[in-house]
Amino acid sequence: MPRSFPTNPMLAVEILGLEKTYAIGFWKKKRKDGLKSLHLEIQQGEVFGFLGPNGAGKTTTLKLLMGLISPTAGTARILNQPWHDPAVRARIGFLPEQPYFYDHLTPIELLDYYGTLSGISAPDRRLRIPKLLERVGLAGQGGTQLRKFSKGMLQRVGIAQAVLHEPEVVFLDEPMSGLDPVGRREVRNFIQSLNREGKTVFFSTHILGDAEALCHRVAVLNKGELRGISVVADLTSQNRSRFEVVWQATAAIPAMRAFGNETHVAGEVARTIVRESQLQAALEALKSQSAQLISVNPVGGSLEEYFLQKLGEPDKVPR
C-alpha cells in the first residue's frame, strides 16, 4: 500500500488517493486516466450520492472498491478493513450497472447461489429469499427463469442479491438506470428503507432528482476528478423552485402541459416539471382528471446549479 491513514470507527468507506490509469491501444502504449487521485470519506449510516456524467469515473471507483480492477495508486478501507480483505466482502453488497445474471436460473436459484457464496446457511437462505423477493416486488416470480425477465425486474433481482446477506454498506451503481417512474420510486423507497435500517448506501447516479431525494451528501465527479462534496440539505434549503410530478392516466397530459413544457410519457405513466407557484393548481388538475398521483419531488434547485457549476470548473486534483 502506498500510504496508510488513521482508522476512524465511524467511517464506512475511506478512499485515499485511489487512482486508475488504463493502458489503451493495440500496443497498450497510450494511457487514459479513469480516476485521478480520489480522496473521500463516507460516514456510517449515510446515503452518499456519487454524481457525474457518463464516463466521469463513477463505475471505475466502484469497481476499484469491489476489487474488480486494481488501482494504479492509492488505497481504501471499508468498515475499517483494507478494501481487498475477503472478510470485508461478507459485510458489503454490490449492485453493478445494468446487471445481467445467469439467465438459466430462477431468482430463487440465483439468490440461493449468491447466498451460499456469501456464507449464509441453508436454513437462513430458505427463510430470507422469499421475504426478500416479496420486498423487492417479485413475490410469485421466484420460479421463473431470469431470461424471461424485463430490465426493471432484473434490476429488482440485482437489488435483492445486493442486500441478501444483510450487508452494512451497500454500493449501488446507477440503481435507477432504465427504470420507469414507478420503478424509480420503488427503488428510492427501498434505498430509504435500507438507510432506516442503519445501512450505509453509496450510490452512483447521473439523475439529480434521485440524489436530491435520497442523499445526505453528494460528490461530483467529472473526467475522473472529484470536483466537490456537499451536504444536500444545505443546497436544497436555499431554493426549492421546481417540482417533478409523476402520475398515471394519460388523459391528464393536455391539462398538465399547461403547467410545464417538460412533460415525458412512458406508457401509462407521465411526469411533468412544474414551478412551485403552480404545484397546487397542477395537483388539483390531476384530481379533476381522476389521475393517480404517484410522486411529487423537488428538482433542479440548487443541487442542479451546484452540479453544473462543479462540472464547469477547470480540471484540478482535489485534496
Binding site: 474488480l68 480492477i69 486494481s70 475477503p86 446487471p99 445481467y100 438459466h104 447461489y113 457464496l117
Partner: protein, 258 residues
C-alpha cells in the same frame, strides 16, 4: 472455501445441462443405432473391434469438443456478460472461482462420459450377448479419455484467462493436436541436437502427452494395459492439470475486469 467452490461447480454444471450441452448424448445414441446395420454385415470378431473403436472415438471427439468450446467460455462468458461482478464482490477468491468452474465442467464431462460408457456396454451386450473379461479394459480406455478431458479443460481455462475466446479455442485445439503426436515429438527431441533439440525437448514437456492417454486401438484388440500405465497417466494428468490451473489462477488474479 470448499462450500464456495462446490457452489460455483454446481452452478457451472447446472448451466451446462440447461444450455443443452448433454444433448450430445442423443447424437451419440443415434450414432450407435446408425452403425448397427453396418455391423450386421461383418463377422462377430471384427464387429467388436469396430464397435469399440467407433464408440470410444466418438466419446473422445464429443468430450474434446465440449472441453475446448465450453472450457474457453467458462471465464470469458462471465466477464463479457458481467455475471462475474456479483460473484467476485462477495468473499470469493479468484482462485476459488477458477477452481469451481473447472470442477463444474469436469463434473459435466464425467456425467457425459459415464452415460456414453453405459451406451457402449449396452451396444456391446446386444451384439455379443455376453461380456468377457477383456471388456473391462474398455473402462480403462474411457478413464484415459476422461483424463484427456481433464487436461484439455485446464488448457482451455488457462488460455481463456488471458486471450479472446477465438484465440483460446485455436490455442487449445493446437495443443490437443500437438499432444496427440506427443510421442513423435519426444522421439524427434531425442534425436535432435543443438538449439532445435533444446526447443523440441522444451516443447515435448510443455505439450500434454495425450498419446499416452489414447489406448483405444490396444483395447479394441484386447491388448493388456499395465497397471503402471494407469498409475503414471493418473499422476501425470494430476500434475499437468494442477500446473495449468495454477497458471490460470495466477494470470486471472492479476486481470482487470472491464
Amino acid at each position: 472455501m470448499t462450500t464456495r467452490i462446490r457452489a460455483i461447480a454446481f452452478n457451472t454444471f447446472r448451466e451446462a445441462v440447461r444450455d443443452r450441452v448433454l444433448y450430445n448424448l442423443v447424437f451419440f445414441a443415434l450414432l450407435l443405432v446408425a452403425t448397427a446395420p453396418l455391423l450386421g454385415e461383418i463377422s462377430i470378431g471384427v464387429q467388436r473391434v469396430l464397435l469399440i473403436n467407433l464408440s470410444l472415438s466418438a466419446i473422445s471427439i464429443f468430450g474434446i469438443v465440449i472441453s475446448i468450446f465450453v472450457g474457453i467460455s467458462l471465464v470469458s462468458k462471465e466477464i463479457e456478460r458481467r455475471t462475474l461482478y456479483p460473484v467476485l464482490s462477495r468473499p470469493v477468491g479468484r482462485g476459488e472461482f477458477i477452481l469451481g468452474k473447472y470442477c463444474g465442467l469436469a463434473g459435466t464431462l464425467l456425467v457425459n462420459t459415464m452415460a456414453m460408457t453405459t451406451g457402449v456396454y449396452v451396444a456391446l451386450l446386444l451384439m455379443t450377448r455376453s461380456f468377457t473379461r477383456a471388456d473391462a479394459n474398455i473402462l480403462i480406455a474411457i478413464y484415459f479419455l476422461f483424463l484427456q478431458f481433464i487436461v484439455i479443460i485446464g488448457l482451455a481455462l488457462l488460455f481463456s484467462s488471458f486471450s479472446s475466446p477465438l484465440l483460446s479455442a485455436l490455442f487449445a485445439l493446437s495443443m490437443f493436436v500437438a499432444g496427440s503426436f506427443a510421442a513423435d515429438l519426444r522421439g524427434f527431441a531425442a534425436m535432435s541436437h543443438g538449439p532445435e533439440g533444446l526447443l523440441a525437448r522444451a516443447a515435448s514437456y510443455v505439450v500434454p502427452n495425450l498419446a499416452s492417454l489414447n489406448v483405444i486401438t490396444r483395447v479394441s484388440h484386447d491388448q493388456f494395459i499395465p497397471a503402471a500405465l494407469v498409475g503414471y497417466n493418473t499422476l501425470y494428468t494430476l500434475l499437468y492439470a494442477t500446473a495449468t490451473i495454477t497458471a490460470a489462477v495466477l494470470i486471472f488474479s492479476r486481470r482487470d475486469l472491464k
